[in-house]
Symmetry: C2
Subunit: 318 residues, 2 copies
């Protein structure tokens, strides 16, 4: 009964800040490159170890990220942090590597409907397009991580069978990929499901490093993160100020806010290496610059550690 | 390893709707008695098994609930649902029982600072005032449940030692109380703590029925609920549309929204006996009547089960 009263979870995690990619791409109003770089530098100063700083999609698809090369080129002095960029195809990969990025992240949807909507290919077709990207990266000495969007539920198709995830992971393994981000793209995952799926996948793919990319669309992101922790997952994506809305539910919450995830992890006794106070300050600044947040509890209520002054006296009532 | 992939949680829970007390009391604008009763009836129609419908505090302390007698009196035909009222003292208990309530809930803070602020007594003094309330209730055949506010953290004092909770629970047991609501009044609990504290308390007080009253001030309420489920807790409070703000953080989220909790539980395969669709409709109506919500994911994004129409065709981009 020694562990009966203790949640068995890791003591240390690594968080990847994704706002410069997943957050900014959801903003319709142009964010100047200088501002983007300024935010990236402020984020780097919080102690976060890893950041997804842009995406090399076609500028017509996401005009907001048309400055991807410049963002990567001018971030090259940030040597204390692992920078990565999302790439949808070989051309994007070449642009990213030319600009100086050392790590690429691949895009892939678990379902055909989402893949068609997002990448204009079925999931199978999209898988076939990954190999040449990896070849280019390998040739040029750049690391590649995989991802699976809508891994825990698709807004068009609903439930995603775990066999579908296993099939994609097998394909990733054949291509030499050893880390994959599992994305709950539209916030459909629940803790029981996350715990069960991760348990199965970690048994079947014991050499794979999984990371969790959780959206808080239905308020379950933190509970899902805890379920993932209970399966030994230590890599999590999050987005400053919760930036990155849900295209299917305008106004709904986006990515779990970095400051909320870090606060919760610290409260739970988990090390992140991040300075929470500084991160909350950055979140405030980002909210001011962008004009809104994407759902952030810290920006509303502040951390638990901020105690209130004890009441001096009370009026008798009741 | 049979359970390695399965979160060990109960298959069925009982939710107590607390908006008519904890939600309404936070509203400064008068809600007419007729409207309150209308909402209570709509809530009862969702299938919720238990409801805290008002509080018999002094009308000067909470003018919003000055119609407590009338609310109780005119709810007496709702015989399919367990109704309870909060009472702060003997006079409140007598008023409540005279009006026809069959169950009382006691108020008690874990810390002196919160108790002084809330009840103008130290926690010890407040405990001494409970016995006469229970005597009155017992004499008149009315059941009494206990509660502990700020059980997982106090906005004035910070950490609350588990020994403090144990001491209060021992006092409750001496008074014949066998069910206690543990309240995270200002959203300071985290899942590791909830799991650990409940584990200890359930070992020490095996005959006590615990229920969880979780505020979502810092976004941890659902994760805390899951941690409580993992310790076998099956009683939860929640508030329609998340009503019931945090007096220490204006604008911050209040109680976990009933529709969010029910949605999450259903997604996790847990039975609540509640019709989620109907509950979301009630939440919409309540938001319209009250003029705002207190943080509700369902009102922003809708349930996971509401799928989107598959995209018919896509334009080539990228």
């Amino acid at each position: 009964m020694a562990n009966h009263n203790q949640l068995l979870i890791p003591k240390k995690v690594e968080i990847c800040e994704v706002a410069p990619r997943d957050g900014f791409q959801a903003e319709t109003e142009w964010i100047p490159t200088e501002t983007k770089l300024n935010i990236i530098r402020k984020l780097a100063s919080t102690g976060v170890k890893s950041m997804e700083i842009t995406s090399f999609v076609h500028p017509k698809a996401i005009p907001q990220l048309k400055d991807a090369e410049e963002v990567v080129r001018r971030s090259q002095d940030l040597t204390d942090i692992k920078l990565r960029a999302l790439v949808p195809n070989v051309k994007g990969a070449e642009r990213a590597i030319d600009a100086g990025i050392k790590k690429l992240k691949l895009m892939l949807s678990a379902t055909d409907s989402h893949s068609l909507s997002n990448a204009n290919s079925t999931s199978e077709e999209a898988q076939n397009k990954l190999e040449p990207i990896i070849e280019v990266a390998t040739k040029r000495g750049v690391k590649v991580g995989g991802s699976i969007s809508v891994a825990f539920g698709c807004p068009y198709e609903g439930e995603v069978p775990v066999s579908r995830l296993a099939s994609i992971l097998n394909r990733y393994i054949k291509m030499g990929i050893d880390e994959v981000s599992l994305a709950d793209t539209t916030g459909m995952a629940n803790p029981v499901q996350v715990h069960s799926i991760l348990g199965q996948l970690k048994e079947q793919f014991s050499m794979m490093t999984f990371s969790m990319h959780l959206h808080n669309t239905r308020g379950m992101a933190l509970a899902n993160a805890v379920a993932a922790l209970q399966q030994g997952v230590i890599h999590f994506d999050s987005s400053i100020a919760g930036l990155g809305g849900c295209p299917y539910a305008p106004g709904a919450s986006g990515n779990i806010a970095s400051e909320d995830l870090v606060h919760s992890f610290h409260e739970m006794g988990i090390e992140t290496g991040i300075d929470l106070g500084q991160m909350i300050e950055v979140a405030k600044g980002v909210k001011q610059i962008i004009g809104h947040d994407g759902g952030s509890y810290m920006l509303q209520a502040g951390p638990c550690s901020e105690l209130h002054v004890k009441p001096a006296s009370q009026e008798k009532l009741g």
